[in-house]
């Protein structure tokens, strides 16, 4: 197992290393080519979020409808770090990350649930977080319904660079996990938790580890995103459509791979902007139809077309 994992990593080393390098190059150069930096920034953010969803859904089968909860709490951690603790931006990011991890630990009993129960309960959990953060009773901490304003720490270039770094690190993490025993253990758990236990895999601990990693990614993305927005309301960073886009991007590309969510984000977010900027009245309709058709005809996402032919998909 171990040895075979290593050979995987080795035999596909070229392709595996190429992906993060390519992302690094593309998003370092993109601002020079394309003037709307917000679009590039958001594409990265969704790519990272899609990878976060992918870690959980693609590798363990848990669909986190409420993934935006980690994103939102990360953004608020950032806000609290800056407003309450008066930390500099980069240090406040860690507060966002910490908040997300703490919330993930508190919510880890949700992993006892399966399927739809988990999906909808995670949605409920993110609504609970939203309602707590936005409640007037917490105005002295979160500024409640009045929203956060971090304009004094606003620094679009630093937050852009931070997002590039996060994207590259997340991609590397997914590739490493996919090609090591840990990733194989996750796939085994996804297939059959009981058999995984009998194969010696500590199911609960392994799942919880991924859950926390995924939360950490969501929280960091939210923190950097909140920093980049610098003025936001609870409803902005707990917007359910953030979860939904990340899930759809993952599904479209194909979960359980590193390239799937990247592909999904590039194609669909690109489409989102191409249509969104021209005439989006039918946009939600197109998205809905796309989801339905994907589930019916291509449940493994675009990469499954290649996997079916036996190719290694990074």
């Amino acid at each position: 197992m171990l040895s075979s994992g290593r050979t995987h990593l080795r035999s596909h080393r070229g392709v595996n290393a190429l992906i993060p390098l390519l992302l690094l190059a593309a998003f370092s150069l993109a601002p020079l080519v394309y003037a709307n930096h917000a679009v590039i920034f958001q594409m990265m953010a969704f790519m990272v979020l899609a990878q976060g969803v992918n870690l959980l859904y693609g590798f363990t089968g848990y669909l986190p409808f409420g993934y935006v909860g980690f994103f939102g709490i990360g953004a608020y951690g950032m806000g609290i770090g800056i407003e309450l603790f008066h930390l500099p931006g980069l240090a406040a990011l860690l507060v966002g990350a910490l908040f997300a991890v703490v919330i993930a630990l508190i919510l880890s009993p949700l992993l006892r649930l399966s399927g739809a129960y988990f999906a909808i309960s995670s949605l409920a959990a993110s609504e609970v977080l939203y309602n707590i953060v936005a409640n007037p009773a917490l105005t002295h901490i979160t500024n409640g319904p009045y929203g956060e304003s971090l304009v004094q720490s606003y620094h679009p270039l630093t937050s852009y660079v931070a997002m590039v770094v996060l994207l590259v690190l997340t991609t590397v993490l997914v590739i490493v996990i996919k090609n090591t025993p840990f990733g194989r253990a996750l796939l085994a758990i996804r297939e059959d938790p009981v058999s995984a236990e009998m194969a010696g895999i500590a199911v609960v601990r392994t799942r919880t580890t991924v859950w926390i990693l995924s939360a950490l990614i969501g929280g960091l993305t939210g923190a950097i995103f909140g920093w980049h927005l610098s003025v936001f309301y609870p409803s902005t960073v707990f917007d359910l459509s953030i979860s939904i886009l990340a899930i759809v991007f993952t599904l479209f590309g194909g979960g359980g791979t590193a390239i799937g969510p990247i592909l999904g984000s590039v194609v669909l977010y690109g489409l989102y902007n191409a249509i969104g900027i021209s005439a989006p009245q039918y946009f939600e309709l197109i998205y809905g139809l796309l989801i339905v058709l994907l589930v019916l005809f291509l449940p493994g996402g675009v990469v499954s077309l290649l996997q079916r032919r036996g190719s290694y998909v990074p």
Partner: protein, 291 residues
Amino acid sequence: MLEYSIVAGILFGVFFGFMALGLNLIFGVMQVVNLAHGDFVVLGGYLAVIAYSAGHINPVVSLVGAFVLFFVIAFALYFPVIPRLTRSKDPEMLSLILFFGLSQIIEALDVIGFGNNPRSLPLAIMGAAPWHFLGQSYQMAWVITAIVSLVMIGATYLFLYYTRIGYAARAIMGSREEAAASGLPVAQTSAIIFGVGIGLAAMAGVLSPFMIGSVDPSTGLGLTTIAFAIVVIGSLGNPLGSVLGGLVYGVSVMLMQTYFSSWSDLVPYLLLLIIVLAKPSGLLGKGVRNA
């Protein structure tokens, strides 16, 4: 205030129990979480509003029309979608995602067809005089809505327990394999239950303007979550469970509004989390699988 909150919570909760009934049936029989459930409720609401404003059709009449129309629509929707899902590798997750897509489609069509403005019905249709009970007065619209909801829940109960299709449906809820092995018409029953479930959602939608004030395209997902919470609180596949879940929800919301009003939005979500973590089989139930 306590007394009023409880009585109003019961009226409110009975309606929500009814609203969740269709989701319960479909989930129970097909293991499909209809995430578009709330959107069908909203469609029923639009049907009532338009029937009333265009043709002065009383919502009670619209109830029947809504059921028939949406039964037919759902029945037609069943065959290209559900069997394909049931055969797939992970029916439960994939159906969740697919119906989420359907929910997006319906929401988009609502915007195109009915606009973004909230639509509602005059409460006076249901009688202007309030209902007096234990020295308090309650909106007549709530009372009538609750009564209609109870009647429909009763009818569903009779359908499940005293008809052949109902018997088959309950058998399938128990075990799909066993039901198929003993020669029950699983596919046919599933299609009918799918139609009934969505028909019931649309009926609840006809009543919804009286309970939730108005409907607009974005109302759906919230209703779906509440319905799911109610189904889980009650327990799967049991119409009485839905009533119980609805009552727990209704009374909790009203008590929360009275004593901690700014937190009242938390009710369905907190109830859901508490139930799934503490007693995942629901208050009445058995049988929810854990991972």
